[in-house]
Structure formats: structure tokens, C-alpha cells
């Protein structure tokens, strides 16, 4: 008996030496098994600027996602980026600084970043009295900031301090734009609304003596406040009825601009030096130069606009000479033209085909452009940065595409994994399965004969695989471009954005495989409705919401071709997949419910059948206002959603988030304890977690709601919570994980874990044993165990790793917005059964269950960081999908950035480690053979001697 325990302790000690409590990334796998797509979003402001005088230019963009970034022009790589506080309004360059103006409500922030490195040099907040959009103008030495519709400040660019200020508030004038003038003054332009008409008011302020004083106030009558056409350091152009008028800033004389056509849709663009102006009219474009003598505008020439001139973007080229560029792109094809001012007309032009460049296409025309014209030995060279309607950025050097940044992916709201076809299961193999007996045998023999030519390739592939240890490559000898790898790590990720862009990413490369653009629509749902089979490609379905219209599209996930579609007019209420009807040939059924409760099901017949066939009915819940949840049931006969129940939470509570329903891919219905008794899990497939916050009481409440019956199964309330910071929740199997920022008694992030069981005691089940929690009429209350932990960093998104059969441990993946990291929190640490005692006091049963003593602090352990050195910005959601190997789970995080990796929560138990040395194995085998060869004569002699009775 003593020997048994001794042996056991020896085994235990051995196990302990091999067991690593911390799983981390191997240095040789980092950036090999994962990919990171760093995005900036669709540019709101873009310009080319040299960060250091005399150096090459970089592209600077300020985007809708409130990112300021520098992009290298040669490669398209991000050099630096920063997220600014509030909404980015404007970004301007001044020497080695990039000045950014941002606003959130009445809080206006002016900040400066180093143009080379992206360091924040200073940031100055200004509290504005009203939420009027501010305006900024930047010179070499200072910035002029206009806030509150009339408060002008001169801000020192070295440290962000205010050097002087001026208030133009007279109660009726609202100033909207500010600029430095060419003679060192500051001009502010606004409108004064009188009862009868509007007056355009321009104030020229003396800014030279670091004090602002009025020099000149000019009032001119305009018809509407939006008639200011153009404000440059030299000129102000506005529309006065059917004529264009302008004034040279600092002078009082109003002049009329010679316009060749009606001025209805005129837009004006001035060159960098301000010495020439381009005015785009509806049918023509006119070029003017500024007269050196009196500053008046002289018409140089007029050219006709091409067809579809709405799809044109104009820009003044960064150049020593006066050049303007016009980029007209309709769909994916168009022209870039360079206009000279000194010479007449088009000096250079080239064709642009965005679809040609990357064979993915679908960018929806041009939105904005920035350009640079250089004089080279063989003539002019132009570089044009194009922003397309879908949100992407393209750089062309003359007729050569240099790079494309798929910034539309920064607006991703939905994503789904798509399995690739298995190359070893060909159509013939699948066909054989349908035959029986001799015919199947004959078919197999003929197939094998047909495949003999692949044999050499198979052997060479097998040998190469053995030599290199690259087991992820399948040795079939079939070179299929799009096919599953041996372990199923390679998948496609199909994404949908709020701008109507659909794109597929290949996880093997991290590149966009195909994309589609549905302008003016937003993706509101995305599902993999059919998996790949030998006969069919995998199909994804997307639900698009337009202006009062809805579109259902089914696309071949491998190449993006549309295989089915339906459009209708109506509103969007909810959309979800109907579980339990998917076979290999079947497509997944999806229900779409309008706000009025009208039901649509795809595919129609099968989906309706599925709804009727479900014994308990299909139920779902939507938020109704800010503090109520309403449950519905689908009714196939009337094709509508019927209201079933409504839960009104206390009126002070505001619903923050609703988790997805739990209990999927359950491998085990119980948790085995150390003494081999079982705690039965409370596996309720219609359970959702609802988070509400109460700002007045500083509390957060978690409700676990039974969707089918509309009852609250469990609730947990926490006080001293900062309700202004994110509360995240994740529900998986019988486990709820949620995180919030606690303010007392200790400040920091608190993670709570709840586990739901059927009964308090092991080996006890609910009586009677529930086959289906839904169909029961009595409340089935779970037994809930919970524990709380402190984590150093804030958490803004949670997910659980999913594997093929769900046997592998389920770790929690969290996004840390302050650190821009994704971490994998081990389940063994987020385990509410962790005993609150010392290791020595733990019972044998607790030790055998593998429990770790409770510690309230989860460390800032950087080896849990699955995104390692990458900085992942602004992740909104994390999805997880299974690989073909049970040990491995694929994790994809998206938001502004995208990050894909694979994790092995229970270590890679079903795959040889990359460090496995085949040489060592061979050596051991050879050594053993040698030992046997050496000892066998000895043994033989000894046996012979023993038979003869010789010593």
C-alpha cells in the first residue's frame, strides 16, 4: 500500500514538472500562426507632408475612427498612429508637428503630435460654452483656434499655451471659419443673421504683436449662411445669388468673379501657395491666377467636365509649380489628369483601374484625393493618394498602382468563419459512398487507376513533409489553391461592414481574397449558411439594411459571387439563425423579423418547416426602450413574431448589453469532482445574460433571463461600480463571466465568474431530470457558485474559446483597451470552485480535481497576451471557431484592427510539438538496436550455460 502512494506521488511529481500553469506563445510561432491588420479607418482629412524639411513626404490621415496616422508612401505601411480623444475635426501640419483638433460635446481639444514618431507633444483642452464645431488654422509658429462661434485664441505651437485671445461675440454673429492671412493677420468669417437677410461678416485681426485686435470688419449680404465657397490665406469667395464674389483678405473691395456658367454647384480649390484657384462648376472647370499687382483673380482657361463629374475629386498638388489634379473614377475605372496653370490645360493624364490593381475590385468610385507632382529628368511624375467611397486608400504613381490599404475593414461589424473544402474528399469519393457492393468496388478501382499518375507527387510530398516536419501541408499531391489544410487551421473569415463592404480574408495569409461593395447599405447580419461539400461551395448569407430597404444575399464564400438574393422594403428588428436544422446538404435557416413583427425566413419552405417542427417554438428577445426586454415567439402559420412576455427592469437601470445565448457544443453534462462524484451543469440553451447599470446608485446588475419563459433565473447586483466605464459579459455553457470597473473599496477592474449547476450537492439532479429546460412549467432554479477577482487592466470585450467537440478547456479571451492587447485568461484561474485555503489545508479531493487555491488578484501576466507585441486598437468584438484538431481554437478579434491567432487552452495534446526532434527519436532507436545487438550474445551464452548447468 505504501508503495502505491509512493508511486502515485512520484507520478504526480512527474506530472507537475511537465505541467506548465502558464500557456504562452512560442517565440518561433509568434507572427507565424497569427496575423494583425492595423487599420486607421476612412480618412476625413488626408494630406502629403514632409515631416522633416528636405526629407521625403509621408501621407498623413485623420479618420472617421478618430485616428491620426502617418503612412509611408512607398510601401503603404503605417509609421505611427494615435487615437485622439473625441471626434477628430481637422488635422494640419506645421513643420515637424501635426496639429489635431478634436471635439466631444463642449470639450474641444487641440493637440500636437511629432510628425516623425507620433509622440504626443502637448494637448490643450478648451471648454466651449456651446457645442459649435471649432475651426483651426496653422502657421509655422502658431495655431489659431476658433471655438464657441466667436472666441479666437492664438495657441503657441511649442507648448500649447494660449498667447492671446479675442472674442467676437455680439449675440448675433456666429463665426465658423478661421485662417491665417498671407500678410500675417488672422481672418475669421461668420454670418450675422438679421430678420430680413444674412450678412457675411469677415473680421481681420492683427496677430503680429501676440495680441488680437480688430483691423477691419466687412459685412456683405448673402442669401444663406452656407454660401461661403472658399477661404484661403489670400481670398474669400462666396456665392451671392447667381454670381460669385470674392475679396482679398485685408482689403475692403468686393469684386465679382468672372464665371463661365451657372454657379449652382460650384466648388473651389486653391493651390498650396494660394496663387492659383480652380473652380468646378456643373459642366466646366475654370482656372484663375491671382494677379501680382492688385490681388484680383484673372481667368486663365476653362475646360469641359467629363461625363459623370460627380465622381471627381480635385486636389491642389504639392509641388513647386502650380498644378492641380483631377481624379475622376466611376466604379473602379477612371482617369487622373494634371492641369498646369502656367501652361494651358492638361499636362499629363493616366488611366486608373482599381480593380486591375488587386483583382478584387468594388471600391465604388473616388471620394477624395491628395497629390504631389515632381519634376523628374523625363518629365513630370505624379503621386496621387485616392480615398474611395468604400473607405479604402490607394496610392498611384503615374499609371502604376503602388499599394491599397483596405481601410473599409476598419468598419467591420460582423464576421464569420468559413471552412474550406477538404481536398481529400473529392466528388468521386463522395459519389462512391452512394453505391453499394460490386459497383462501389469497381468505381473505387477505376478511381485508383485514374489517380496513379499522382503517386510520384504523393511520395515526394510525403518525403518532403517528413524531412521538413511541415505537417500542416497535406501530402495528397493535389495542388488545390483553396483547400483545407491537414489540421483545419486555414479558413476564410467573411466580414461585413457598416459601409456595405463585404470582404473575405484568408487566415493563412491575412490577405483579402475577394470583396464586394453594396454602397449605402449596412451589414446587420452575417451567417455561414452552408458548409463546403464535394458538390457545393460554402455559402455565406448577409443581411443588408439600406434606406428603408432590406437585402438578403447569398454568396459563394470562396470567390464572392452572388448565388441568391432577395430584396424587400421594410424595417429591421432582429435576425438570427434557427438552430438544429443544418445537415451537410442543408442550408442553415435564418429568421428576419421587422420592427412591426413581420417574419421572413430563408430559405422559405425549409425554414418555416423548421419553425413548425420545433416543439417549443423559436423564441428571442429584443430590448424595448432602455430598461425593458421583450420576448417573442415565431409563428410559422401567420409569418409573424408574437409577443410572449416583457420584463421591466427598475426604471433607474439602463440596459448595457445582452450576451448571446449559452450552452452550445457541450461535451460533458457534468463536472467531475476529485472524489469522482459529479456536479451536473445547468445547461439552458435559452439563457441570456443582461447587464443593467444604475448611475444614481453606482451599481451594476446581472440578470440571467430564461428567453423561453421570460423569467429571471438568477440576478447579481454589485455596488460601488463606475457606470460610465464599459461592462462586458460573456455566457458560455453553464458559465457567466463579466467584468466592470469598481470604485470601492479598491479601485480597478473586477472580473466575476458564475457557474450554474442543477443542484448544490454532487450526484444530484433536478427532479425529474430535465430533457429540455424550455418545456417545463415550473421554474428550474440553478445552484450558482461565484467568485470575484481583481485584474489590473480594463476589459472591453470578452469571448470564450470554442473547439470542435468542446472537450478542451474553455479559456476566456479578453480585450484590454488601455494596453491594446488580447489576453487569454486561463479557466483554471477563473474557476469559482477555487478553495479559499492554503495548499497544505486542501483536501485530497480538491487536489485531485486540480483546483488552485483562491487568490483575488489576477496578475498582469504578459505571457497570457496572445497578441504579443502587436498593438491591437479598438477591438469591438471577438469570435472564436474550431479547428479540425480538438486541441486548437481559432480566435479572431475585429473592430478598428483585426487580429487572428490560434490558441491551445489545454496545450496541443493531439499534435506533435514543433520542438519534437525526429533526430533524437532515430538516435534513441539506433542506440537501442546497438544495445540489443551487444547484449544478445551475452544473454544467449548465459542461457546456454544455465542449461548445461555451468556457472
Amino acid at each position: 500500500m505504501q508503495w502505491h502512494t509512493g508511486l502515485l506521488s512520484l507520478l504526480f511529481a512527474l506530472l507537475l514538472t511537465f505541467y506548465k500553469p502558464v500557456s504562452a506563445i512560442y517565440a518561433d510561432e509568434a507572427s507565424v500562426i497569427d496575423f494583425h491588420l492595423a487599420h486607421v479607418g476612412t480618412p476625413r482629412v488626408s494630406f502629403l507632408h514632409a515631416p522633416v524639411a528636405g526629407s521625403g513626404k509621408l501621407a498623413y490621415v485623420g479618420t472617421e475612427k478618430n485616428v491620426i496616422a502617418a503612412i509611408g508612401l512607398k510601401s503603404g505601411d503605417l509609421l505611427w498612429r494615435q487615437i485622439v480623444e473625441g471626434d477628430l475635426v481637422d488635422a494640419k501640419a506645421s513643420g515637424e508637428r501635426i496639429v489635431v483638433l478634436s471635439q466631444s460635446g463642449t470639450n474641444v481639444v487641440l493637440s500636437a503630435y511629432s510628425a516623425t514618431q507620433g509622440h504626443l507633444l502637448w494637448s490643450s483642452p478648451f471648454l466651449s460654452q456651446e457645442a459649435i464645431e471649432p475651426s483651426v488654422s496653422v502657421s509655422d509658429v502658431n495655431a489659431v483656434l476658433l471655438t464657441d462661434g466667436g472666441l479666437v485664441r492664438i495657441v503657441d505651437l511649442t507648448d500649447g499655451t494660449v498667447a492671446a485671445s479675442w472674442s467676437g461675440h455680439d449675440g448675433i454673429t456666429v463665426y465658423t471659419n478661421v485662417t491665417h492671412t498671407t500678410d500675417g493677420h488672422v481672418a475669421v468669417v461668420g454670418t450675422t443673421s438679421n430678420i430680413a437677410s444674412s450678412t457675411l461678416t469677415t473680421a481681420i485681426l492683427d496677430a503680429r504683436a501676440l495680441a488680437l485686435s480688430e483691423i477691419l470688419v466687412l459685412d456683405t449680404i448673402v442669401t444663406s449662411p452656407s454660401d461661403v465657397l472658399h477661404l484661403s490665406p489670400r481670398l474669400l469667395i462666396w456665392k451671392n445669388g447667381e454670381t460669385l464674389e470674392y475679396v482679398t483678405l485685408g482689403k475692403a473691395q468686393v469684386m465679382e468673379l468672372q464665371a463661365p456658367a451657372n454657379v449652382g454647384h460650384a466648388r473651389a480649390f486653391s493651390s498650396r501657395t494660394g496663387r492659383s484657384i480652380l473652380v468646378q462648376f456643373q459642366h466646366s472647370t475654370t482656372f484663375y491666377t491671382v494677379s501680382a499687382e492688385d490681388g484680383s483673380l484673372v481667368l486663365k482657361y476653362t475646360i469641359q467636365n467629363p461625363e459623370g463629374s460627380d465622381h471627381c475629386a480635385y486636389s491642389a498638388a504639392e509641388s513647386d509649380e502650380e498644378y492641380h489634379t483631377r481624379s475622376c473614377i466611376q466604379g473602379d475605372v477612371g482617369r487622373v489628369e494634371v492641369f498646369g496653370v502656367a501652361e494651358w490645360g492638361v499636362v499629363k493624364s493616366w488611366r486608373v483601374d482599381l480593380a486591375d490593381a488587386h483583382s478584387t475590385g468594388h471600391f465604388g468610385g473616388v471620394l477624395a484625393a491628395s497629390s504631389e507632382i515632381m519634376t523628374a529628368v523625363d518629365g513630370l511624375v505624379g503621386r496621387v493618394l485616392l480615398v474611395t467611397v468604400d473607405g479604402s486608400i490607394h496610392l498611384w504613381r503615374d499609371s502604376m498602382p503602388l499599394w491599397t490599404r483596405h481601410e473599409s475593414l476598419a468598419h467591420t461589424t460582423h464576421a464569420t468563419f468559413v471552412d474550406l473544402p477538404d481536398p481529400s474528399v473529392s466528388k468521386e469519393v463522395a459519389d462512391e459512398e452512394t453505391h453499394e457492393g460490386l459497383s462501389a468496388f469497381l468505381k473505387r478501382v477505376t478511381r485508383h487507376i485514374g489517380e496513379v499518375h499522382r503517386l510520384p507527387a504523393f511520395f515526394s510530398g510525403w518525403a518532403a513533409r517528413f524531412a521538413q516536419g511541415e505537417y500542416e501541408v497535406s501530402p495528397t499531391g493535389i495542388s488545390a489553391a483553396i483547400a483545407r489544410d491537414t489540421f483545419g487551421f486555414r479558413k476564410f473569415i467573411v466580414t461585413g461592414t457598416e459601409k456595405g463592404k463585404l470582404a473575405a480574408l484568408d487566415t493563412a495569409t491575412g490577405k483579402v481574397v475577394w470583396s464586394q461593395f453594396y454602397q449605402g447599405n449596412a451589414a446587420v447580419g452575417l451567417w455561414t449558411v452552408r458548409n463546403a461539400s464535394p458538390d457545393h461551395p460554402p455559402v455565406v448569407a448577409v443581411l443588408l439594411k439600406g434606406q428603408g430597404t432590406m437585402d438578403w444575399l447569398e454568396l459563394n464564400a470562396l470567390d464572392g459571387t452572388v448565388v441568391g438574393s432577395e430584396s424587400w422594403t421594410g424595417s429591421f428588428g432582429a435576425a438570427f439563425a434557427i438552430e438544429g436544422v443544418q445537415g451537410p446538404e442543408d442550408t442553415l435557416s435564418v429568421a428576419v423579423v421587422s420592427q412591426e413583427g413581420a417574419l421572413k425566413v430563408f430559405p422559405k419552405d425549409k425554414g418555416m418547416q423548421a419553425i413548425s417542427a420545433t416543439f417549443t417554438g423559436i423564441r428571442f428577445a429584443v430590448t424595448n426602450g432602455s430598461s425593458a426586454v421583450q420576448g417573442f415567439e415565431l409563428d410559422a402559420t401567420t409569418a409573424s413574431a408574437r409577443s410572449l412576455w416583457k420584463i421591466d427592469f427598475p426604471s433607474a437601470e439602463v440596459i448595457q448589453s445582452i450576451s448571446a445565448a449559452g450552452a452550445n457544443h457541450v461535451a460533458s453534462i457534468g463536472r467531475v469532482l476529485g472524489d469522482r462524484s459529479v456536479m451536473y451543469k445547468y445547461l439552458h440553451s435559452h439563457l441570456v445574460g443582461i447587464v443593467t447599470t444604475d448611475a444614481s446608485a453606482s451599481s451594476v446588475t446581472i440578470y440571467l433571463v430564461d428567453l423561453a419563459r421570460g423569467t429571471i433565473v438568477h440576478q447579481a447586483r454589485h455596488g460601488d461600480v463606475d457606470t460610465t466605464k464599459t461592462v462586458s459579459i460573456e455566457l458560455d455553457e453553464n458559465r457567466v463571466v463579466y467584468a466592470f470597473w469598481s470604485i470601492g473599496p479598491s479601485a480597478g477592474t473586477q472580473i466575476n465568474v458564475l457557474e450554474l449547476y442543477e443542484h448544490e450537492k454532487p450526484n444530484q439532479r433536478l427532479d425529474p431530470v430535465p430533457l429540455d429546460y424550455v418545456s417545463r412549467d415550473v421554474d428550474l432554479q440553478p445552484y450558482v457558485v461565484g467568485q470575484a477577482y481583481r485584474y489590473p487592466a480594463r476589459i472591453s470585450a470578452l469571448a470564450t474559446t470554442q473547439t470542435r467537440y468542446g472537450i478542451t478547456k474553455r479559456d476566456t479571451v479578453a480585450f484590454l483597451p488601455d494596453l491594446n492587447m488580447l489576453v487569454e485568461l486561463p479557466k483554471s484561474l477563473l474557476d469559482p470552485r477555487r478553495p479559499k485555503k492554503d495548499v497544505k489545508q486542501m483536501s485530497t479531493a480538491e487536489k485531485e480535481e486540480g483546483l488552485i487555491p483562491y487568490d483575488p488578484i489576477l496578475p498582469d501576466e504578459r505571457r497570457w497576451v496572445i497578441s504579443h507585441k502587436n498593438e491591437i486598437f479598438a477591438v469591438k468584438d471577438i469570435i472564436s471557431g474550431p479547428a479540425y484538431l480538438e486541441s486548437t481554437s481559432l480566435v479572431f478579434a475585429f473592430g478598428l484592427d483585426m487580429f487572428f491567432t490560434r490558441v491551445t487552452p489545454s496545450q496541443s495534446f493531439d499534435k506533435l510539438s514543433a520542438s519534437f526532434s525526429k533526430g533524437q527519436l532515430l538516435l534513441t532507436m539506433i542506440a537501442l538496436c546497438a544495445a540489443v545487438a551487444l547484449t544478445s550474445p551475452m544473454v544467449r551464452r548465459k542461457q546456454l550455460n544455465a542449461l548445461w548447468g555451468v556457472q
Binding site: D28, S114, S124, L151, H169, R676, A747
Partner: protein, 250 residues
């Protein structure tokens, strides 16, 4: 009209300035961060309290400031991808509070000037009122360690393999297999016989646990039956016999 509104604005801004402080500090180099420029520009400094979340980034030399901070207690943390920092507690005091503390600290001879920003060390998962050592202001923050994301792959290590005691025992036993017969040859057969007779009992005892180990059934042990039921019946007698036989043969 214009003047009055201007005055109003100035008064408003003055009022907001009076109640708001600016927290200044810098991140400094130490052995974990030899070069301050190695700190990424995206490093984030957060100042948090109930309903407050102010953020800034360090400048190229590691300096930072957070403006418009009103009175209260705050948690200041530094977040860098490359380094780990410890949190500090910042108290922005009102003029009265500052004067009261200064008066308390003043002795008869020395008068202490009132300070309005007080910095203390704080500890995670401890009560926020549990202040640690007082730190100087303006703040100087240094990383407590570097991030290490990766673990190295374990490769074949002959030295490590040879220092494994199990392997050493195996090698020793292998060597003994060759050496023992040689040793036995040198001993007088009569002496050996004597020795075997006298030491036989001891050898049997020594062989007994090994026999127990041979007969130990892992499957039945794991099935919860344990060795107790089998042991008294099973191994003892046959092993003894077997052992005696072998001894006799030799």
C-alpha cells in the same frame, strides 16, 4: 454687449481654473528601461475615478501632463505594451485641506508650505484608502519590469539529459551488468555460496517490494479497488518461491 459677454467668459474660465489642477510627471529610465525613447509613443497614462477617465500619452522625453483635474482621489496608471508599471494614488486637495495638512506637519520652528497634489503608492486589490509610501510630486514613474510574451522552445539538451538522476542510475546499472560478472569471477566460489546462504533472507526481503510492484495493477488501482484487497493474497508467497529458485540456480 460684447464686453460683458467677454467678461462673463473670462470669469467662467477663471472659475474653472480655480477648481482644476494639472497633474504633471514624467516616465524615467531605469534598468528595465535603459532608453526612454524605447517606450512606445502609444503608451497610455490614465487617471481614473468614479465617472472620470482622463488619458494622455508621454512626450518624446517621457513627460506628460493631465489638465483640468478637479479635487478628489484618483488612480494613475501607465499602460505600455513593452513594460509594466505600478499604480499610484493621486489626491488633488482643496486649499483648506492642503492648509490643514501643512499645519499638522508644521512644527514650531519649521513651517511647511501647503501642497495641493499629494501622491502615494497604492496596491491592487487593496482598499483604496490603504495608502503606501508618499511619493514626490511632480511624479517620476519607472517601470517595475519588462514585458515578456514568449517562452522558448525546449530543445535537445545533452547536458541536462546527463544531469538527470534517473538516467545516471540507468547508466550505472548498465555498467554494473558488465562489471558484476567480472567481480564475481574474482571471488572464491565457497565464499560466494556462504554469502548467498547468509544474505539470502535479506535478498528476499529486498526482492519482495519489487514483486509487489510487478503485481501492482494500475487499472484496478484507478478503478478505486486499491491494492489492499489483492496484496495479502497475491504477491507474497509466489514471489518468495520464485526468488528462492533463482538463487538456487545461480
Amino acid at each position: 454687449m460684447q464686453l460683458s459677454s467677454l467678461l462673463g467668459l473670462l470669469v467662467a474660465s477663471a472659475a474653472s481654473l480655480a477648481s482644476a489642477a494639472t497633474v504633471q510627471g514624467r516616465i524615467a529610465a531605469n534598468q528595465h528601461l535603459p532608453d526612454i525613447h524605447a517606450l512606445p509613443p502609444t503608451t497610455l497614462i490614465t487617471l481614473s475615478a468614479a465617472g472620470v477617465s482622463k488619458k494622455t500619452h508621454p512626450g518624446p522625453e517621457g513627460r506628460f501632463e493631465i489638465k483640468n483635474v478637479s479635487e478628489g482621489a484618483y488612480l494613475l496608471e501607465v499602460w505600455a505594451n513593452t513594460h509594466i508599471f505600478s499604480p499610484v494614488r493621486i489626491d488633488i486637495l482643496s486649499a483648506d485641506e492642503a492648509a490643514a495638512i501643512a499645519a499638522k506637519a508644521s512644527t514650531d520652528e519649521v513651517t511647511v508650505a501647503p501642497e495641493d497634489i499629494v501622491v502615494h503608492q497604492t496596491f491592487r486589490a487593496n482598499s483604496f484608502s490603504n495608502k503606501g509610501a508618499k511619493l514626490p510630486y511632480p511624479l517620476t514613474l519607472r517601470p517595475s519590469s519588462q514585458s515578456s510574451f514568449y517562452i522558448p522552445r525546449e530543445s535537445l539538451n545533452f547536458k541536462g539529459l546527463l544531469s538527470n538522476p534517473m538516467l545516471l542510475i540507468m547508466i550505472f546499472m548498465g555498467a554494473m551488468m558488465f562489471v558484476m560478472p567480472k567481480l564475481q569471477e574474482g571471488i572464491d566460489p565457497e565464499e560466494l555460496k556462504k554469502f548467498q546462504e547468509s544474505g539470502g533472507a535479506g535478498a528476499q526481503i529486498a526482492s519482495n517490494p519489487l514483486g509487489a510492484l510487478e503485481n501492482f495493477s494500475m487499472a484496478s488501482f484507478l478503478a478505486g479497488q486499491g491494492g489492499t484487497a489483492q496484496q495479502p493474497k497475491g504477491p507474497a508467497v509466489p514471489i518468495k518461491q520464485g526468488g528462492g529458485k533463482q538463487g538456487g540456480r545461480r
